[in-house]
Assembly symmetry: C2
Homo-oligomer: 236 residues x 2
């Protein structure tokens, strides 16, 4: 029997990364999930990630606490109001970059994933970035992912000792939200475990109004599926 290959999956608790986890599982990979707790308002994401990791019986799940608040500058980590009921994509400053952008976030996340890849002998890292719906985020673009892969292959023991190549896989990068939801559905993702809302109620219900909720709801509608999570106000 061939040896099971290890992979690292960045797991946020959202539906994109949960779909990515399902893709990695469908390839028979041994999953080492990594989740970041980074002072975001929606700490419910970390709890969702725990449930998803458990439901998928991953081999290892690391939850890494990091503090991005030192860097400020984002509605997800600082005291800036989360935008509501704007036209999708309009929640940005004048630059076209959303105010929910966190400086260097994906670079930091991938760097930790690289460390975990190294100690688990993984030759691939899966990340659920998406260039369509998050085109304003510099670190969600294909060129960024390629540059990180190049860096990773100069940074590790394995690259030096054995010439092992490490791949950064971003299988959702060109998909729309509805395509991601259809793909997740085909792979058996339990969307009821996932969370997307930037500003959930105390009981965990999604607000239904923030950019993330709107994007999610439109995605389910376009996919012809029903979103199983609870919303504070049932969307029209």
């Amino acid at each position: 029997m061939p040896e099971t290959r290890n992979a690292v999956v960045l797991l946020s608790g959202g539906l994109d990364s949960t779909t990515v986890l399902a893709i990695a599982r469908s390839e028979g990979l041994r999953i080492n999930a990594i989740t970041f707790s980074y002072g975001q308002r929606h700490s419910g994401e970390v709890e969702a990630a725990r449930r998803i990791a458990a439901a998928n019986r991953v081999a290892r799940h690391e939850i890494v606490r990091i503090d991005l608040r030192a860097f400020g500058g984002s509605a997800l980590t600082a005291d800036i109001a989360v935008p509501k009921n704007r036209e999708l994509g309009a929640a940005s400053d004048n630059s076209g970059i959303p105010i929910t952008y966190v400086p260097a976030r994906n670079t930091i996340f991938l760097s930790y994933a690289l460390g975990l890849a190294e100690v688990t002998g993984s030759d691939q890292i899966f990340i659920g970035v998406n260039a369509l719906d998050y085109s304003g985020y510099p670190d969600c673009r294909p060129g960024f992912i390629e540059a990180f892969q190049r860096l990773a292959n100069l940074a590790t023991r394995a690259s030096v000792e054995t010439g092992t190549r490490l791949r950064i896989r971003a299988p959702l990068i060109d998909l729309s939200k509805s395509e991601i939801i259809r793909l997740g559905g085909r792979l058996g993702v339990d969307f009821s475990l996932t969370t997307s809302c930037y500003d959930p109620a105390e009981d965990g219900s999604a607000c239904g109004e923030c950019d993330a909720c709107q994007l999610r709801l439109k995605g389910f509608a376009a996919a012809g599926l029903t979103d199983p999570i609870r919303y504070l106000r049932q969307p029209a």
Copy 2:
């Protein structure tokens, strides 16, 4: 008057990064220092970094607590004995990579520095890596630094909005320890504030025996200078 340019300096509390800080200051840059507290045994490094940042009146000093122990695999973070009295460079496993190597460490450090560069408007990041004495560390090599610079220029707002280039500067990369010490001496570095020992005594005295102490002591001897820090046993 031209506007003062901002720079980020990775400051560990050792003599290399303190010399790098002096280089950045000599160029008239506004310094934003960043220090990592990462479960290393030698937390005295963080205290040294505080003293050095204060003595140099940096504009900002961020101390970021990160947990690399989750990744294990290094004598600096895990329960592996720190090697003593070996021939320099011999403290490695069979691969030539020292056992004090921490997976993905410099990738993670530079990623945080990138976040700080972004929020401070810095167009350069200084790092005290050295390819001569640390040739066994994959992430201390020129190719790694160049690859990170390329990544950084795809990862930030500034790169997207204004085409601002960010430089990763590693001014010590080709210097020997004695050359670094001579350079630091010329720039007025107060070496008494710096620490290098992997295994200091409770009163902060350096052991004089670990690889880092031996490298430091040989560097001072070759530079014809006296190391002002205290050693547990005065070296011969």
